[in-house]
């Protein structure tokens, strides 16, 4: 029984982290059809910015420790907005007519450039911004101890997922976005400012990536190279759920998170295989992913 509860809890916590990482990636692909490899860099820069700000705060300000919970998202929003605008306005908007494969290569180059830039700005020493992680204490569930910070991340992920679903399905902006997703040219002909939609979407996606990094920072040692590692997992999640689908990212995160947790507890030797095994299985049955729509090719 303890093992079953542990699998459920671990799977849920890991899934919430996976969703945080994958949400921005799937939003950008859904609207812009860009498989953004640089999303890993947004995650890394958000983590570095959040960790640096929290480290500075605890070293130099004798204030309330709980302010650090605001500093993390603040750092992520500043980093995400600046980066998102710079990348979209400075590079991507000139390439929208290029095919998707070229955009993968362009954003991969961007990943490499941003990784070096991160080192120049934040240095190569790891940041250990641990204070927020311990502030909320811990709780015991079925004899197992869990960090309340991890449980808070589950709530944050659920809020972001609900918010994204609400905006896309229940607001005018969401309707306009869905129109752009459905057919960019027709939407433009109907008077939708597609360029502004693209810029806003990319900034939101970049900010979500940076937010995932900033909220993860207190639980890890933030060091160069962390962005490259998460991008592969994020791809696995969005491919399982269907590229561009928020619902897909939620279900994909839960499937991968719970399967991995079950493997770690019951058969640790196949833990790594399980993540990609789930992906392969889904793709064998539904090549477009669980929530992806099979698209007719334009000739």
């Amino acid at each position: 029984m303890t093992t079953a509860i542990a699998i459920g809890m671990d799977g849920l916590i890991y899934a919430s982290w996976l969703f945080l990482v994958a949400a921005g990636l799937t939003v950008i692909y859904g609207v812009m059809r860009i498989l953004n490899m640089a999303h890993g860099s947004f995650y890394a820069i958000g983590a570095s910015a959040g960790a640096a700000l929290v480290t500075w705060y605890f070293a130099n300000v004798d204030g309330n420790a709980y302010w650090s919970f605001l500093l993390l998202p603040a750092a992520a929003v500043v980093a995400g907005v600046i980066l998102g605008l710079a990348v979209e306005q400075g590079l991507l908007r000139f390439l929208y007519r290029q095919n998707e494969i070229l955009m993968v290569i362009v954003t991969y180059a961007l990943l490499l450039i941003l990784e070096d830039l991160t080192k120049l700005v934040f240095g190569v020493d790891p940041y250990f911004a641990y204070q927020p992680y311990g502030l909320l204490g811990r709780c015991e569930i079925a004899g197992l101890i869990f960090s309340n910070y991890d449980l808070m991340l589950v709530a944050v992920s659920a809020t972001i997922a609900s918010g994204a679903w609400f905006i896309l399905n229940r607001t005018v902006t969401g309707k306009l976005l869905r129109a752009v997703v459905h057919d960019r040219e027709i939407a433009m002909a109907m008077g939708v400012n597609v360029s502004a939609m693209f810029a806003a979407t990319f900034v939101v996606g970049a900010t979500l990536g940076a937010l995932a990094g900033a909220l993860t920072a207190p639980a890890i040692s933030v060091s160069p190279g962390i962005g490259v590692e998460v991008i592969i997992l994020a791809f696995a999640v969005v491919v399982v759920g269907g590229l561009g689908s928020i619902e897909g990212a939620i279900v994909g995160s839960l499937m991968v998170g719970l399967s991995r947790a079950a493997a770690v507890h019951l058969a640790p030797e196949i833990e790594l295989f399980v993540i990609y095994g789930v992906m392969a299985l889904v793709l064998a049955v539904r090549p477009q992913g669980l929530f992806g729509r099979a698209a007719a090719r334009k000739i």
Partner: protein, 434 residues
Amino acid sequence: MKTTTKTLGSALALAATVALTSGASAADEAKFRLGLVTFLSGAAAGPFGVPAANGAKVLIEALNDGQVPAPYTAKGINGVEIEPVIIDEAGGTTKQVEEYRNLVERQKVDAVIGYISSGDCLAVSPVVEELKVPTVFFDCGTSRLFEENKTPTYLFRTGPDAVIDNIAAARYLIDTGRKTDSIAGINQNYAWGQDSWADFKATMLALKPGTKVVAEQFPKIFQGQYGAEISAISVARPDVVHSSFWGGDMEALVLQGTARGLFDGRTGILTTGESGLDRFKAQAPNGLILGARGPFGALQPDTALSKWFTALYNAKTGLQPTYPTSKMAQAILGLKAAAEKAGAKPGSLPSKEALVGAFPGLTFESVAGTVAMSRAGGHQALQDITYGEYQYDKKADKASLAKLKTYAGDCVMPPDGISSADWIKAGFPGAKCN
């Protein structure tokens, strides 16, 4: 931030030095061109590569200025100025083999010191013998190095074999009276993690038959999130949790494990934990056992040379040397000792053959005590190893290691001619322990 800025500043200063020196004439006989290979980018740069590069910079400057205490008072190497040529170890084994060839054939280095990754060491080692350039591996620990290359000539390793990390870890647990009825391990899923766990498990079973192995976790390297693994180990309720995690993975495990009670009421032992000593603060529990892969970093013996180097490094970088720093310094001093033993006239360089002839059997003083090049036909260093308990003083905001216990190299390293696995299985024949 201040620390990071200083570290980055040191790294940039080193890069600038290299940029200025890389255009020097290869035929410039007034200088000893020393290739240095360490991670300057990627996940291993922060905890290992850059501290090692900074250690090299600080020591080479002091050597060239003739400021190093006895027995290293001669300037540079045998009175010849050392000119560093540093390259990044990142990029994988194929790239490193190419880079090594470049160092030798185009940069015309007189010797090479480098390599943190065991994979890089194994890939480069045959090329060392092919190109016939004295090469010292300063950090990589794979036991396979001299098991695969049985007749080395130009290749040396001044850092200990990794097997001693885990044999000494098991001995420390038993000698300090820890409860060790059941053990669990969380190690990275590649050769380093699997070999480390295999050595530790085999040693525990050999020293204390009947020990139960209750959980074995092998997460992917750089995974960063260990929630499920921590739960799985907690459910198994072991007395001991062993890990050879390094760098950011190790620090993340400590942070998440402490928050989730992984080390409550049981002993945690981290074979590379010393590299996080200054960052753990209250996030690691007092009593956590940390190693430094030898007597390095905070576990350096209290010798005049060690104290001098620690003070110099601290003055130049604002940091305490961690084990990669000490191991790099040890390799440079070993190369200098061998070159000066080779018998060339002061102010001139020995031939490569004379240098490699002087290395086997050499005993030299390092910043981490005495090192004997006495294994693998004199190509592998034999050295003590120390473990200690983490203690954090919250009032003073200072971490230290207590209850230190040192094991002689002869106690924890197999003699020539037998693999580490067979030596452990046979009950450590010939081990000389106090």
